[in-house]
Symmetry: C2
Subunit: 65 residues, 2 copies
């Protein structure tokens, strides 16, 4: 989970998005984006899907790390 969070942060920053911008695009709460990147929670598939969409990538690429 922490590995995924680290990768997500990298992807997000590569797109020059703030957590808030990502949370808005993905329609996910900012606090949740933070928790996911920190590996504090165990996100659900729907959340992962929303994040991938917001980043403009596929779920497959979200896990390409």
């Amino acid at each position: 989970m922490i590995a995924f969070g680290n990768n997500l942060r990298k992807l997000r920053q590569a797109k020059k998005l703030s957590m808030e911008a990502l949370s808005y695009e993905a329609d996910i709460d900012l606090s949740q984006v933070f928790r996911i990147e920190k590996g504090l929670v165990n996100p659900t598939l729907s959340t992962l899907h929303a994040i991938a969409n917001a980043l403009g990538i596929t779920l497959k690429d979200l896990f390409d790390y």
Copy 2:
């Protein structure tokens, strides 16, 4: 979620595994495997990870559909 479930079923059957065998290998309850394949639930990352491991594939490949 239903698309993922359909893909999972395909992958599981390709490995000649019963739901019970997969549930045992992944240490996930059989009822949960059923629900995931049917798209009745929104699985968590840890569950997805366990399933991928049990199938002998990466998370990335679990979403290659």
